[in-house]
């Protein structure tokens, strides 16, 4: 038996843990830089606030409707997410963390008589320990547990947030209820194609006469999905996700940038942060990509996005190496007099640090490693990126717009909850 545990409106729920005055009130969370709405509480959904709406467009509406707005606080969400997953591991060691707010669980070999009751136990514990509400779908396969979860979420009052697909009758009923666009792995493009073929529900998807079409359109992935929906488990839990294959730091500027020096400063900073992230996960990269975007609203051009890639002969996670490479790329790509709105550094071809191949002719100065360690240790201790390269401006900060940021209640000692007594 599998389960999919999904936290309800996770970011909004996280904010409510330490600010319970917003329980039952409309809450929205904005993306990085306070760009657009990325999470809404049920109450905000009921008010008709749209997902993805740009903040500046709905600012008045939010104020008029008395919606509480938060900037995204990933330090808080990440910590609470880890706690949720750890609690789930207390119920079965077999879990697959699928995203920040979702996990698959597997109960094979465990003797559980009543899954609904077990689900209530899980839900109650997460809610009591963390005040994070979850919904749980139980089913014999991963894809069906996704379906069961949707039902649990949709009919929370009737199901108490737990739904178990454990009979053939329930399975068929659930599949008939599930629209094709809500099936796990069916995106927008496939939905259109399926609908054109009159495959409108998950049930239609499993009908024998559609098999050859699904095979043609989706290949083995589609067939696997079909088996899963039929109750034959073919997708197993996946181990902890491999190290990230790419790390990207891209930012829109508050204004625009038109001078090389200013851009050099930004790009170097992005590069050092990429390098820092690489070191944090003990890996190195083989290539660096620079990305520049011209401001669409200011000038008319035939193209707006520019990329350039450069490979390093040796794998590196040194801020100095990656930053130098970024500046080199910028010299090639940057056009004097152009108006840029956004830039980014993407590091890719990532390998674990311990699999680094030594290179015969070209090698990084070994002193980099030691220097990076000193810098990382210092930053960890002080909690700020105070040591910078000469390319970077000491005054410049991330300048991320976070007007509505809550505190880092669980990850920064300065920010812990204050209680009156």
């Amino acid at each position: 038996m599998y389960a999919l545990v999904d936290c309800n409106n996770f970011y909004a729920s996280c904010e409510r843990v330490f600010q319970p005055q917003y329980v039952g009130k409309p809450v929205v969370i904005l993306s990085n830089n306070d760009g657009c709405i990325i999470s809404r509480s049920y109450e905000a959904k009921d008010l008709g606030i749209q997902m993805g709406a740009p903040e500046f467009k709905v600012r008045n509406e939010l104020r008029e409707k008395n919606v509480k707005v938060f900037s995204s606080n990933y330090a808080l969400y990440g910590d609470l997410s880890n706690r949720v997953m750890k609690i789930l591991e207390g119920f079965t060691p077999n879990i697959e963390v699928y995203s920040i707010d979702e996990s698959f669980m597997n109960f094979d070999g465990m003797n559980i008589e009543d899954y609904h009751k077990y689900g209530i136990q899980i839900k109650t514990r997460v809610n009591k320990w963390l005040s994070i509400p979850v919904c749980i779908g139980f089913a014999p396969t991963k894809a069906l547990s996704k379906v069961a979860n949707k039902i649990a979420k949709k009919y929370q009052e009737r199901t108490q947030g737990i739904y178990v697909i454990d009979t053939e009758e329930k399975r068929i009923k659930a599949l008939r209820w599930t629209k094709i666009e809500d099936v796990w792995g069916i995106g927008f493009r496939l939905t259109k194609k399926m609908q054109a073929r009159n495959i409108l529900t998950a049930y239609d998807f499993t009908l024998p006469h559609n098999e050859s079409y699904i095979k043609k359109e989706m290949g083995v992935v589609g067939l696997r999905l079909k088996y899963e929906l039929e109750g034959k488990s073919v997708l197993l839990l996946e181990d902890a996700p491999a190290q990230k294959k790419q790390i990207a730091i891209t930012r829109s500027f508050e204004g625009t940038i038109s001078t090389f020096d200013e851009m050099k400063e930004r790009v170097s900073t992005f590069a050092t942060v990429c390098a820092e992230k690489l070191r944090k996960q003990n890996s190195c990269c083989h290539s660096v990509i620079l990305y520049l975007r011209i401001d669409k609203h200011k000038v008319e051009r035939s193209r707006y996005n520019f990329y350039k890639l450069e490979t390093i002969p040796f794998a590196s996670n040194s801020s100095i190496t990656i930053s130098n490479l970024a500046v080199k790329l910028l010299k090639d790509l940057f056009q004097e007099g152009e108006i840029y709105k956004k830039a980014g550094i993407i590091v890719s071809d990532i390998i674990p640090e311990n699999q680094k191949q030594l290179h015969l002719f070209e090698e990084e100065n070994p002193k980099h490693q030691a220097l990076m360690k000193v810098i990382d240790d210092f930053h960890r201790k002080t909690g700020e990126r105070k040591i910078r390269l000469g390319n970077q401006d000491l005054q410049q900060t991330w300048k991320m717009r976070q007007k509505h940021l809550s505190k880092k209640y669980t990850t920064d000692f300065k920010d812990i909850l204050e209680v009156k007594c």
Partner: protein, 142 residues
């Protein structure tokens, strides 16, 4: 002779961490302290029984000085514990976090201060009360 050479590949996947013996290893009588090298006192282990349910808060005010909670003390909160009579709890009362001792008398719930200058709070129907967590330790600077 039918003996072949058999090669064994080293298992590099599974790392086993061994304690580092700081006294070094020499032939002769080992240091009698070496056996005890591993154990280090960790305040985390003592103060945090349930990592996932533990949070920290800072006390602000004087209503609980009788219970040893002074202004500025750090409170260790375990949210997995059940609220019980006489436990010190972080309560969310009418829009504000406060720390008080819980007193349950029949159907009546009181939040008790531990300072003569403050009055007990009796919880009435119209109050909005959440027992947020139970205080397990107080950390103070002396």
């Amino acid at each position: 002779m039918k003996k072949k050479i058999q090669f064994f590949l080293p298992d590099l996947e599974n790392q086993i961490e061994l304690p580092y013996i700081s006294s070094g290893i020499k032939a002769g009588f080992p240091s009698p302290a070496a056996d005890f090298d591993e154990s280090k006192i960790s305040l985390d282990n003592v103060l945090v029984k349930n990592k996932e349910a533990t949070f920290y808060a800072k006390a602000s005010g004087n209503s609980m000085i009788g219970a040893g909670i002074d202004n500025g003390d750090i409170l260790v909160i375990d949210r997995s514990l059940e609220p019980q009579n006489n436990k010190i709890a972080i309560c969310y009362l009418d829009g504000e976090f406060t720390v008080k001792r819980i007193k349950i008398e029949g159907d009546n719930v009181f939040l008790m201060p531990e300072n003569k200058n403050y009055k007990p709070i009796q919880i009435a129907e119209e109050n909005d009360l959440i027992i947020w967590g139970i205080v397990t330790y107080v950390i103070k600077k002396v």
